[in-house]
Symmetry: C2
Subunit: 111 residues, 2 copies
């Protein structure tokens, strides 16, 4: 999916080396990622289908992709319970809470 020889890729590297905030930003950019994280902040534990109901516009593929990336970045974890897969926030994921809340609050304060 990534082409590790592109200028684009190299620049991304340069950027994250240069600016720590960009690293954090990369973890949470991606369509619907914030929605998924917020819904986990509220409910602690969700299944694939739960997410689809919360964000009906999302397609299976994209949902799976976002969940995969969040999992790879250790912000969420998945585990099986009673034959269902449950997604939950990891400690790392929970530690993002203030940042997420502030992102929302900043926008709200503008209005």
């Amino acid at each position: 999916m990534r082409k590790e020889s592109s200028t684009n890729f190299e620049n991304q590297q340069t950027l994250t080396d240069f600016c720590n905030a960009s690293k954090t930003l990369m973890l949470i950019s991606g369509r619907w990622k914030l929605s998924l994280l917020f819904s986990l902040l509220e409910h602690n534990s969700r299944t694939f289908s739960d997410f689809k109901q919360i964000v009906p516009a999302i397609s299976d593929r994209i949902l799976a992709l976002q969940l995969k990336q969040l999992t790879e970045d250790s912000l969420i974890a998945k585990q099986k319970r009673e034959n269902f897969m449950f997604y939950t926030l990891t400690e790392k994921g929970k530690s993002l809470k203030d940042i997420l809340v502030n992102l929302a609050k900043w926008q709200t304060n503008l209005e």
Copy 2:
């Protein structure tokens, strides 16, 4: 540049309606935007060429594009002084400071 009839575009709408944090996130996502903002937090006032020196890998086109978007979103403003264009943070831009610093700090705390 945008195709206002695509699912992609509609979903972006849905998303920002649904999740305030996503609105904020959109303003600061874009390659090098954080770097540009941080450099303005430090130095208050910069020219186009200054930015090019700070982030040598950036191309003219992309720099101009990012600056334009930041300007359209009113995070920065540009004005002419002594035949040079200077970019500065607006009040709105300055009010992002805590968020930006926290994004960086969160990453740093991980290490």
